[in-house]
């Protein structure tokens, strides 16, 4: 009898855990599921896209301080020149390294958002990148966070908006090829602008490199029947050679 009771209690607990994994708090939007970038178009947007109010405006240029702006422009120009010669510069991808924050939120490949009790987890399909947003917890001091690709994220709901603060991103993890300091902070505001369109307003502040906050807005569209695929960077034939991306194509690998 005691065994049966224990089994029943365990079942109830399991159901509660499953329910909690679905949507932990009444009134909080259900953003669990797969999402693809919406409106991040290659080339100039069409008129229809320009008239679509759920597509956010293009990202502005980074408001870098003069010395960092000069460095960034030189980097962009060097990449352009290397491309023109057919010898592109190596990037983190060349070494199978993931985007990190906030580039992963650009959702080059689909995202999966999971709402569970006390935490929201975001997975980006490419390189199986994972970030955890701890809900309703205090943020640490920057000096107390060891630098990483995704940093430390804490968040809370303000009505229907998920507000997230991220610190502790490694300085070699670059967003749009810009430099940042250890003091960089990433603020995100995620909210549904339509039942299946989620916006993420990302504002980066950095007292060392930026003149003023830099805001970039990404939109994502819900993918109703899509399960994220596995992604392992298994056989990368591109490699960095003296700063350039090279390939072993043409030399058969046995």
């Amino acid at each position: 009898m005691r065994g049966l009771l224990a089994l029943m209690l365990a079942s109830v607990a399991a159901v509660q855990v499953l329910a909690g994994a679905q949507n932990p708090r009444p009134g909080v939007p259900d953003i669990t599921g797969s999402w693809e970038r919406y409106g991040g178009f290659f080339g100039a947007p069409t008129e229809a896209q320009r008239n679509d109010p759920t597509i956010p405006p293009r990202a502005p240029q980074p408001p870098l301080k003069p010395e960092y702006l000069k460095e960034w422009q030189a980097r962009v120009q060097a990449a352009r020149e290397a491309d023109a010669k057919g010898t592109p510069l190596a990037t983190n991808y060349t070494n199978c390294l993931p985007d990190g924050m906030p580039t992963m939120m650009g959702a080059m490949f689909p995202l999966e958002i999971l709402q569970s009790r006390g935490q929201i987890t975001i997975i980006e399909e490419a390189f199986t990148q994972v970030r955890r947003i701890l809900l309703d917890q205090p943020q640490k001091r920057i000096d107390d966070v060891e630098p990483g690709f995704y940093g430390r994220s804490v968040g809370h709901w303000e009505d229907d908006t998920l507000v997230v603060d991220t610190i502790g991103v490694k300085e070699n993890v670059r967003f749009q090829n810009t430099s940042h300091s250890r003091d960089m902070r990433i603020a995100e505001r995620m909210h549904l602008v339509a039942p299946d369109i989620l916006w993420n307003e990302i504002t980066i502040t950095d007292p060392v490199t930026l003149d003023k906050p830099w805001t970039v807005v990404y939109a994502y569209r819900r993918m109703k029947n899509y399960t994220l695929l596995e992604y392992v960077c298994e056989d990368n034939r591109e490699f960095a050679d003296q700063g350039f991306q090279k390939s072993t194509l043409g030399t058969e690998k046995k």
């Binding site: 290659f42 069409t46 290397a82 491309d83 057919g86 010898t87 592109p88 490419a126 990368n236 194509l249």
Partner: protein
């Protein structure tokens, strides 16, 4: 009659070309020649289903004897979203492959389109594939 999956691949590829979906690349495609394509007719020795790219190994007969080429495709995730399966190409298949060749002249390139033994054509969804200028196939 066009099989459903092929139709889906064609439609999605067209959308990609039209810029109606976000398209991104994991690296620069600048190492491939954007000014010309080369059409290879040969036998598949291996179709490798990996990330960050699928790879196709081909033996191609020519005036100087058999030459081996390695072609890069896109990410297998992107290819699966376009409808590709790992079983679409097998060793021993006689195929026609249109590639943007490596700028450095090595025997490799970026696969833009492949015609399988049954005549079915597949595209791996190369971002901005339209920017690669096609060279008509030599007779």
């Amino acid at each position: 009659m066009i099989p459903g999956r092929l139709l889906a691949i064609c439609c999605v590829a067209s959308l990609l070309l039209a810029g109606a979906r976000p398209v991104h690349a994991h690296h620069s495609f600048a190492m491939f020649d954007h000014t010309r394509t080369v059409t290879l007719k040969g036998e598949v020795t291996r179709f490798q289903w990996t990330n960050p790219h699928a790879l196709l190994e081909l033996d191609v007969p020519g005036p100087g004897g058999m030459k081996h080429f390695t072609l890069e495709l896109t990410s297998i995730n992107m290819m699966q979203r376009l409808g590709w399966r790992s079983s679409d190409i097998k060793a021993g298949d006689k195929v026609k492959a249109v590639m943007a060749p490596l700028v450095n002249g090595e025997a490799g390139g970026l696969l833009l389109e492949i015609t399988l033994p049954g005549g079915k054509k597949l595209e791996p969804g190369v971002p901005a594939a339209g920017t690669f200028k096609r060279t008509p196939e030599a007779e």
